[in-house]
Symmetry: C2
Subunit: 407 residues, 2 copies
């Protein structure tokens, strides 16, 4: 198969050195001596923080001690040691045969940390990799020492490390966004009246799979294809509902390439007989969604808590007499499509903690919302943007007007 112009070869880029240097600096800024990532059998249960520490997996209980001095220590099972050494990220690799307790205590004795940050968080999934059983293990090891009293949550470390994208990470998300936009262009040429949601999804799947891309979320509903007033909205699989004249077509698509994700939504309107442009109700819906994204964009700047950005967009929707959307206005995007920490969301129970966090330079957010048009379908747009010192830089080419499908 001929490779399309937008195809990019798989790049064996390790972001680990860049992110570990960033982690060291974050520990200095936060005045934390040691960040301890404690894991086991990572193929079966992987702490999300490992994304920035390890290009691979470990089998037996393993402790990664990232320190503010930059002297990083890995303590791993004997048969994993060669792998970890070859990564050249840890200044010291300690291996063990029988158990990790002794080498871990020895390493801590050597480091004498005042605070030891570990991966738990009630609000941020990305900072909550430590399991209850492993936490009990640590407490057992720390009996007869005072290390347990020095444990703190690594939440601020991980929020900063995952949230503040490095130059390579920004480049990789940008590449994923570019590819996604090319796929949207192909869909626009392909989609015709009478096609089902499933046919359109299959077309997208073909593009993703034949070019060696990955899905940003489950293939089952990536892309989400919604058309007309009768198809459910949300994380639902495409169905046999066909594309009809006078209806909207909505696609929510995320791809993953070289380990980084895109997440975009685009809107089409299927022109009815005699129409050359969308009718007023459809136009008004598009303009309102567009206006709300611009309102949110205007509020999005470093230091602002996430909920305030959401509130700006949400108010715009309500002011235009639409029902408010029952989801967040935006989430972080990166290695994972929901990339943890700060969320641009209302102060609902399910966003507690993470909607209070401030926007930071280097964050990549989605900006997304929808309204419903009776008898026609939904109108839902999503952009991907980078937060800079001075405001917002679009990674996507924003959808400033409706796209059309001619019947």
């Amino acid at each position: 198969m001929r490779k399309p112009p937008w195809y990019r070869e798989y790049r064996d880029v390790s972001i680990i050195p860049e992110k570990m240097a960033q982690a060291t600096q974050i520990l200095r800024d936060l005045n934390i001596d040691v960040w301890l990532v404690f894991v086991r059998e990572t193929l079966l249960n992987r702490d999300p923080a490992l994304d920035f520490i390890l290009d691979g997996e470990v089998t037996w209980r393993s402790a990664f001690l990232i320190t503010r001095s930059g002297h990083h220590i890995a303590i791993v099972g004997h048969f994993d040691a060669r792998n970890i050494e070859s990564m050249d990220v840890f200044s010291q690799v300690v291996d063990y045969h029988h158990g990790i307790r002794e080498p871990l205590l020895e390493a801590l004795q050597q480091l004498r940390p005042r605070k030891i940050a570990i991966n738990y968080s009630t609000s941020d999934v990305a900072a909550d990799g430590l399991t209850v059983g492993l936490y009990h293990n640590l407490h057992d090891y720390f009996e007869n020492t005072d290390y347990a009293s020095r444990l703190i949550s690594a939440e601020p470390i991980i929020a900063a490390l995952r949230g503040r994208k490095s130059p390579t990470e920004i480049e990789l998300v940008q590449a994923a966004v570019n590819i996604t936009e090319q796929i949207f262009d192909e869909v626009g040429r392909f989609a015709k009246v009478g096609m089902t949601q499933r046919e359109i999804a299959d077309f997208v799947h073909f593009h993703i799979e034949s070019h060696g891309l990955d899905y940003a979320w489950e293939k089952n509903y990536d892309p989400i294809v919604t058309c007309g007033p009768y198809s459910p909205y949300g994380h639902a699989a495409p169905s046999d509902v066909p594309l009809e004249k006078g209806h909207t077509l909505h696609i929510d698509l995320g791809i993953k390439h070289n380990g980084y994700c895109s997440d975009l939504q685009r809107m089409w309107y299927v022109l009815d007989d005699g129409e050359t442009t969308a009718p007023p109700d459809v136009k008004h819906a598009f303009d309102t969604v567009y206006g709300a994204i611009k309102a949110g964009e205007a509020a999005l700047r470093p230091g602002v808590p996430g909920w305030k950005v959401d509130a700006a967009a949400r108010q715009y929707i309500v002011d235009n007499n639409y029902a408010e959307y029952m989801h967040a206005f935006g989430h972080l995007l990166g290695r994972s499509v929901h990339d943890g920490a700060t969320v641009l969301a209302p102060r609902w129970e399910r966003y507690a903690g993470i909607c209070e966090l401030p926007v930071e330079v280097g964050n990549i957010f989605t900006l997304e919302l929808h309204v419903t048009i009776p008898e026609r379908g939904i109108m839902s747009v999503e952009e991907d943007v980078l937060v800079t010192d001075t405001g917002v830089q679009y990674l996507s080419k924003p959808q400033t007007e409706l796209r059309y499908i001619h019947s």
Copy 2:
């Protein structure tokens, strides 16, 4: 590319109904009212127990209540609900917009459980999916109730559920094993004196990737290819060490197909000039490894604790004047290559708890160990076996004699 005879099409088999029926029975046997699996953003951090509950992912905090009555309840974020309903596994799907606290408390009030099992375990990674943050969430929700005092570990539920393979699971592991043996046969025809470990690994990678198979563990060291006395043993990537006459060739390969894994090791000897069979030191090593596996096999029967099985094999090695292997004699195999719970391993710190668990009917174990032959390399064999009422059924065709590479 022509599909080889051992190629099997991807089967869209859901094991969920089979395993959920099994879970219900296990709850009855253990006299536990409710098993609560509590998760969020499973794309970023996935509880291993979800393998048997959910064919997909959920975004917001979600509670899966599996009950002994068979009335299973899912409480999920609104936009995930359609997906969960379509799985047809839960009798009741409750969705929420703002937060899970209220619907979760309502469901528990309806169920009135005496015991609520949750996923934590100090010893078994597969039963330790609950994170510290989510555990704190539960405690917050349960304030002003006495549910917190009813929490117990789901370890015995998960050990039984993951450990006792269903008929479909046994069939899927058998299929993965069969494919792996075909790849070993191809390697035996391909490998020649002077080839490097990396060339042999590349050949295996080509087979795996061109036929749509997955790796059972990281591609980086799947397969592990070891030859001669100077290459490291363990989870190490193949290197540029070439295959030489008078040396052993060892390959440790696991594939994953239709979601289930194989894990096998096979041994070759490279005949030296004038040799028609392996020299005595190599033969003795093979016979000892073979004998040790048979000794372990003889000890492997339902009800025996894992460490006793390891001890039988280990004693055989020591009795034959080789150094004991510094790893477990066997681990469970299934959806994951190290499939949690019972391990056939010595009573070392790192195997605490899981080496005391009894072998059960329906367990699939690897049986594996190695000795080192000075100047020639290692001798390491691994078989995959199913525990039955009456003893042991081999899923692999056991390696009963050395294979040869003719120079």
